[in-house]
Symmetry: C2
Subunit: 348 residues, 2 copies
Amino acid sequence: MFEEKQQRTELDLMGEFGLIDHLTQDVKIYHPEQTLKGIGDDAAVLAYEKDKKLLVTTDILVEGVHFDLTYTPLKHLGYKACAVNISDIAAMNGTPKQLTVSIAISNRFSVEALEELYVGMKLACDRYKVDLVGGDTTSSKSGLFISITALGEAKQEDITYRNGAKEHDLICVSGDLGAAYMGLLVLEREKQVFLANPNMQPELQGNDYIIERILKPEPRTDIVQMLKDYDIKPTAMIDISDGLASEIMHICKDSNVGCCIYEDKIPIDPATSMTAETFDIQPTVAAMNGGEDYELLFTIDQKDYDKIKDLGHVSIIGHITEANLGMFLMPRNGSPVPIQAQGWDSFR
Amino acid sequence: MFEEKQQRTELDLMGEFGLIDHLTQDVKIYHPEQTLKGIGDDAAVLAYEKDKKLLVTTDILVEGVHFDLTYTPLKHLGYKACAVNISDIAAMNGTPKQLTVSIAISNRFSVEALEELYVGMKLACDRYKVDLVGGDTTSSKSGLFISITALGEAKQEDITYRNGAKEHDLICVSGDLGAAYMGLLVLEREKQVFLANPNMQPELQGNDYIIERILKPEPRTDIVQMLKDYDIKPTAMIDISDGLASEIMHICKDSNVGCCIYEDKIPIDPATSMTAETFDIQPTVAAMNGGEDYELLFTIDQKDYDKIKDLGHVSIIGHITEANLGMFLMPRNGSPVPIQAQGWDSFR
C-alpha cells in the first residue's frame, strides 16, 4: 500500500560493522553529562545521579505478530518501537534517558529500508530527548524483529508501582482510549480491499487521528511532567498497552483492591466512536479491550481531587474499592458488569 | 540429535502473563541492595552506587543464524545467551549485575522447551551472580530470537575502552583460542552424519572440551578480578567474539596504533590443534578467524610485565606498534603477514 523507495542497496554489501556505523553515524547525544560513551565499544558507559534510581524496561516487536508491514511505514515502526519503551518509563513516573536497539532483519530488506527504520527511531529519540547508546544488528532467516531496552531515572520517592492503589483512590486516565484499535481495524479493512484489488487506493481520509494513534503513538511523558508540576504523586500507575480492562486488573490485583469504573466517564474521541459505529462495535469495548493507546492509567488519593480536575488531558473514570467488592464497570444503563481482560495476547 | 523431553504443554495454554510468571517464579536476586524491583512492573528499579558508572550492552541471538537447535540444547543456549552479554561487561573491566531477557518464540516450541531455556539462563545468572530483572516473551512467526541486555558497573577510572592502546604496550589474551570454532565444525560434521543416517549416534567422545567451548562459553569475569587483584589496569580491552584478527583490528583502529602478534605465542589447546588437523585447518587460522571464544584480549603498559607474567591464564602474544607500521602476524617461519578480519558477519 505504501510506495517503496527507488534505491536498493543489499544488506550484505555493507557488512555488519559498516552497517551499524552507517545507521548510527548521526546519532545525537542529549545528555552528555550522563551518556559518557554511547555506541562503539563493548558496552555503553552511563553516569546516573546519586539521588536517582535507574529504571530499565524492554519490549520486543515482531513482524507478523506486532506489526504488518503492508500498512506500517518503517519510519513509523521505528518511532513506535521507541515510543512503547519510553511509555514504560513514563508509567513508573520516571524520565527516559537512553535506549539500546537490537534488530534482526532478513535480507529481503535493503539498507534503505533499515535507514527508514532508523530515521523513525532517531525522530522519537529527538522528540523525547533520549540517547541511542547501543545495540546489535544482525540477520534473521525471515522477518523483522526489533528489541529495545529503555533506561530512565526517577527519585525513589517519585517512583509509582502498580501495587500502591488504596480504597477510595480516584482512577484517572490520560488522553482518550480505543482510537488505536479503531485505526488498526481501518488499516486491516483497507489491506483486504487492497489485496482483492491492488489498483484500489486505500480510503484513509477522515481517519487520520485513529490511524496516527495506532501507527505513531506518543508516550505521555507530558503527563508525568504535569503531575510533578501540580505536585501530584499517583498511588499506582501503568501504561495502557493491552486495553483499559487488562491494565486496571493489573493494578487491582497487585494492589489487592477492587474498582468501579463508570462507562460514561471513559474518554473516547468522536472519531473513535464514529468508526466504531461503522464496524458495529461499542466504543466502550474498543476502549476496554482494544489496547495500544499508550495512555497512562493511574490512581490518586482523594485529597488530590482539586488539583487533578484542573489538569487538562486527564479524566477521572472511577474509584478504587475494597478487594472483596471485585472489579466492575458501571454501564450507562443497567447493572454493574464484572471487568474481564480480553486484552492482546500474542500466543492466542 | 538430542532427545526431546516427553511432556509437551502448548504455549498458548498459559497466555503471555501466565507464561512469564511461570518462567520467572523462582528467579533469585543476588543484589537486593541494588535491585529494588525486578520483574513485575512496567520497568525494573535499580540503585547504582554514586562512585560507579553504569555499563549497558545488548546482543541478539537468532535461530538459524547464531545457533542451530539440531545440536544446541536449549539449556546451553540460555546459558550462552547470558554469557555473551556478561562477557561484554567484563570487556569494559566491569562487574555484571543485572540483565533483561526478551524472547520471541514460535509455537512449535512447548512450555517445557522454554523452561529448559530459562534453566540455562538462571544457571548463568547464578554462576555470575547476576539478577534477572525483566523482559518480554512473545510469539514469533518462525524461529527463536533471544535479545538480552546486561547491566554492570565499574569505577570511572577502572573502565577500559577499545581506544587506549599505546605504542610498546603488550598484547595479552586470556585462556586459549580457536577451540569454539573447532567444536562448531565437529557438531556440524556430526549433524551431516545424523541427517544422512538418523540411526547413527554422533561421535562426540574426546571432543568434550571444544564442544563445551562452543555450546557453553564462560565469560572471563575471573580475569577482570585477577587484574584488579594484581593492580593491573589494561590500556584497552575487548572480548573475542569474532576471532582474534577482527578484535585486534578494532583495538588498533580505535587506538590509532599498529600491532605485531607472534604466531607461536597464540595460546591454543592441544584438543583444538588435534581437531584442526583432522579438518586440515591450521590451528592459527582457527584462533585468528574462528571466533566465539569469549576470551579477553587486552593491552597493558610494559611496566606491568612483571605482574602479568605471574598471572595464570594469560598469554602475552605481541606488542603495539606505531599506526603506520600496520597490523602484522609474525609466523613461526617466513615473513610477516598483514592481519585481515575474516571474522563472522551474519549478513554474509
